[in-house]
Symmetry: C2
Subunit: 175 residues, 2 copies
């Protein structure tokens, strides 16, 4: 069994989602939450909260792999800079624990979950609920997006297993 | 005496500069280096190297304050994103140690060291050498920039002390 932590990084809220993947490829929901960072005193403190929250999740749930969304570059330089700060803080926290990281482009996540790279966010969230049997659970958008990237990694790893592709090659796809 | 660590963050090289400031405001050179991050296997590992190098410097030199340059936003979204990652990883490492952080805009650093916000980089590096008696020392550009932001914090703190301004107010200047 592998345990995947999905991260949807943001400087206001960072989504966290944890799933288990059985040997037969079936995925089960474990945990999700959204780290709220806006209460911090200033911007550096937000990054501190992000890292503290992420380390708590890493300690509590001990994932064997981390999956994170790449940035879709329709953003302004200002928002790219802010998002880069959050993503950099998150990646640095994970990589220092020697846990493998895979990155997936938004359209790869949509393709993997909905079958269409141009799917909208609500469709992705619908599929997250369906695949993880979360019909009745209140699910924050950021947490759902984090579960989506974790599910994408589960699907891509399964595909890689069948085709003999190494996971690190998949990482380059859609990068 | 206060000990200031200046950081010039970058995703290829991150400059580090440490100075001591005596009670009379005189600054003395302590240490500088450039963390080389390009040898890392992938981008997340670069951020890991950055944090490891920064933690080593924090352990070795025990600064009482950290100063870092804000980003001058003439950059493309792509380079802002990369720089954001490096800066976010650095800020998160520092803020988690509960060390105070001050941020200074490039023009504030130039104004503080050269007396002119539009000064060029070589003038700033010249003043770093002059102020810290480093005439004969080989000084990498990134390390010199890190010393420059540390010196700026020393000057601004001294000014704040004379005028009764709190340092956290100065942080907002030119942000």
């Amino acid at each position: 069994m592998i345990r995947i932590l999905g991260i949807d990084p943001g400087s206001q809220r960072t989504g966290i989602g944890v799933i288990d993947v059985a040997a037969d490829g079936r995925c089960a929901y474990v945990h999700c939450e959204a780290l709220k960072l806006l209460d911090a005193e200033d911007f550096p403190s937000r990054l501190g909260l992000l890292c503290e929250g992420l380390e708590r999740v890493l300690d509590d749930w001990q994932p064997t792999h981390v999956a994170i969304e790449t940035v879709f570059m329709d953003k302004s330089a200002t928002s790219a800079l802010k998002l880069g700060h959050a993503r950099g803080a998150a990646l640095a926290t994970v990589v220092r624990r020697k846990i493998g990281i895979s990155e997936y482009a938004p359209r790869v996540i949509k393709q993997s979950l909905v079958g269409r790279g141009a799917a909208d966010k609500t469709q992705v969230q619908h599929m997250v609920r369906l695949l993880l049997n979360l019909a009745d659970m209140k699910l924050q958008a950021d947490a759902a997006d984090a579960l989506a990237v974790a599910l994408t990694h589960a699907h891509m790893s399964a595909t890689a297993g069948r085709t003999g592709l190494a996971v690190h090659q998949l990482r380059r796809r859609g990068a």
